[in-house]
């Protein structure tokens, strides 16, 4: 099952978008165009679905409705997140989940999210099986605080959707935070945005599975970072999890290094590989190219496809990227690329076929990278070197 369609209304910088997704998707756009915000709409559904999650906490983690609502919104102040889940092979629509909510409270009354409507369409039964809205007799101000998606008794008929979002994987490992052992456990209550608990997540997996994962990671590391060998996992005396590897040098046996000595690129690569290997459904990869050598990055599109083909549980991958090397792969189809474009009415999301000047370049034999990188580049960026920054004034 994959997310085949995502519809957002008033979500952060997306005022109104409706996009189709496939098994592998490349999300591109300039800085601050909203790539991470697009991912965040899916992580929002995950935060609602996860254990001890729920709508109110998902909104609260994001700083309240005011931080979620689109700044470009003119009239409506409500937010809509809607997804279609389909079978990745047959394209058959399995579920539609739609959540519409708004801000309530303020002043002395607690600020909260209020559900305006929550709808679930069962593709097999071909009918809406849940259709709640604020005017329903069964609903009151209290019930409208909680989605059926987050409640196991209420979501009995569509538990599959909750499980799907619980399994959504998001990984954007920030090496500095992985190394910083003092921050260990500090973000446990919230979703792990930047891999602070990455090592802890590794530690939670049973040993046999973990060893199997490490064997695979080691085989890739051997090629990408040849001077590192035998990556292992262990816990120190305090029970804090660590990574350890052998660093090969002129001494015959080399010497041991732990994650605080690993390079940024090594940690990012391990995180990236872990996410792919551990994934069980849809996975969101935020700029996987960061810190990595361009030759390694070039391999990503094929590597991801290979893993998707051989490991059936990696059903869907969404990758945000700025990388020419990554997008220069000729195997990337135009239906796999979504281009984020800023406008006064918020960010638009378009496919390549909808942007004539990009399509013309690709049709002429150029790669996706050749066509999209110049398009998403800031138009006046060269002017940065003509600025007078007046350092002499200080």
């Amino acid at each position: 099952m994959i997310i085949s369609r995502l519809k957002l209304y008033n979500w952060k910088n997306f005022q109104n978008v409706d996009i189709n997704l496939t098994e592998r998707n490349f999300i591109i756009g300039s800085n601050a165009s909203g790539k991470s915000n697009l991912f965040d709409s899916l992580r929002f559904l995950r935060d609602i679905s996860k254990q001890a999650g729920g709508l109110q906490s998902a909104v609260e983690i994001r700083g309240g409705i005011k931080k979620i609502r689109c700044l470009a919104a003119r009239k409506r102040s409500d937010i809509l997140v809607e997804i279609d889940l389909s079978d990745e092979k047959s394209d058959e629509l399995l579920w539609t989940y739609s959540l519409n909510f708004m801000h309530t409270g303020g002043g002395v009354i607690k600020s909260e999210a209020k559900i305006l409507s929550e709808k679930v369409y069962d593709g097999k039964e071909k009918k809406w099986i849940t259709d709640r809205n604020e005017n329903s007799k069964e609903e009151d101000t209290e019930t409208l605080k909680y989605t059926h998606l987050e409640q196991v008794t209420a979501n009995k008929k569509f538990r599959e959707i909750q499980l799907f979002f619980q399994n959504l994987e998001y990984l954007n490992v920030v090496p500095q935070l992985v190394r910083e052992s003092s921050s260990y456990n500090s973000t446990k209550i919230y979703e792990d945005y930047f891999g602070r608990n990455f090592l802890e997540r590794i530690s939670l997996i049973n040993e046999k599975t973990r060893n199997a994962y490490f064997r695979r990671i080691n085989s890739v590391l051997k090629l990408a970072v040849p001077q590192l060998e035998e990556l292992q996992f262990h816990k120190d005396k305090m029970g804090v999890p660590h990574l350890e590897a052998k660093y090969i040098h002129w001494r015959a046996k080399g010497s041991k290094q732990s994650e605080d000595q690993f390079s940024d690129g090594t940690i990012r690569l391990i995180g990236f590989l872990w996410a792919l290997i551990d994934s069980n459904g849809t996975i969101l990869l935020e700029e996987p190219e960061i810190n990595l050598h361009s030759e390694i990055v070039k391999q990503f599109p094929e590597f991801i496809s290979k893993i998707q083909r051989s490991k059936k549980s990696v059903k869907q991958v969404l990758i945000s990227t700025h990388s020419y090397d990554l997008l220069n792969n000729k195997g990337i189809g135009t239906n796999e690329v979504l281009v984020l474009e800023n406008s006064a009415e918020g960010t638009n999301v378009k496919t390549i076929n909808e942007i004539e000047q990009i399509k013309a370049i690709i049709d002429s034999g150029f790669s996706i990278a050749d066509a999209t990188i110049p398009f998403t580049a800031p138009k006046e960026i060269h002017e940065v070197n003509q600025l007078n920054l007046n350092f002499s004034e200080q």
Partner: protein
């Protein structure tokens, strides 16, 4: 009028933009290509195809070892160039076009005008024309023989290459304001026949569009 522009570096692209606005107010640049430099000649055939959709204005320099017809034969593979494809392979580099406006160049960079070679008169059976002549690559000549004579320290720091670098550390930064604001194309055209022909090609595309 929508066009793509293709130039190897920032200076080349700025020159195309200036030339376009010199020829018409109606140009709208769809994109500046390529995303990465260095591969222009290998992609000539693709740019030719692209120009079927929107005109492509391309400016590239020749390496010492190449000559224009050889490149075209090698990379066009027998295909015919579209009329909407303005392919300008400069015999000398585009820097020669900038220095062809000798007076303004000397004035802006504060170098003696005599340091910039005078245009040479060439005579063929059909015509005679002026063209800039440099003893070696015009961009190298500029940063090795001309800019070191500048009275402005900043230009020397920006444009003269250190050790084995090919260009100065802020070469494009130093060149861009001249291209944009000080380069007198009319004057340069009088001293450079290749620039004159380039302008004519762009004007031809403009007139084609106006008659459509």
């Amino acid at each position: 009028m929508n066009v793509y522009i293709v130039g190897e570096d920032q200076a080349a692209r700025e020159i195309i933009k200036r030339l376009l606005s010199f020829c018409s107010d109606d140009f709208n640049i769809l994109m500046e290509l390529p995303a990465r430099g260095g591969e222009i000649k290998k992609m000539l055939i693709n740019y030719n195809t692209l120009s079927l959709k929107f005109p492509v204005i391309l400016l590239m320099d020749l390496d010492d070892k190449d000559c224009a017809p050889v490149i075209i034969n090698q990379y066009f593979k027998g295909n015919i160039k579209n009329t909407q494809f303005i392919l300008n392979i400069a015999i000398d580099e585009v820097e020669a076009w900038l220095m062809a406006d000798r007076e303004n160049f000397a004035n802006y960079y504060r170098v003696p005008i005599t340091s910039i070679p005078e245009p040479k008169l060439y005579r063929t059976i059909k015509s005679s024309f002026y063209e800039m002549y440099f003893p070696y690559k015009s961009s190298l000549f500029m940063v090795k023989e001309i800019i070191p004579l500048s009275k402005i320290k900043e230009f020397k720091e920006q444009m003269i290459p250190s050790s084995n670098a090919k260009k100065g550390k802020e070469y494009n930064t130093a060149l861009t304001p001249f291209i944009k604001n000080h380069w007198n194309i009319k004057n340069a055209m009088n001293h450079s026949d290749s620039l004159y022909r380039m302008i004519n090609r762009i004007k031809k595309i403009v007139s084609q569009y106006q008659t459509l």
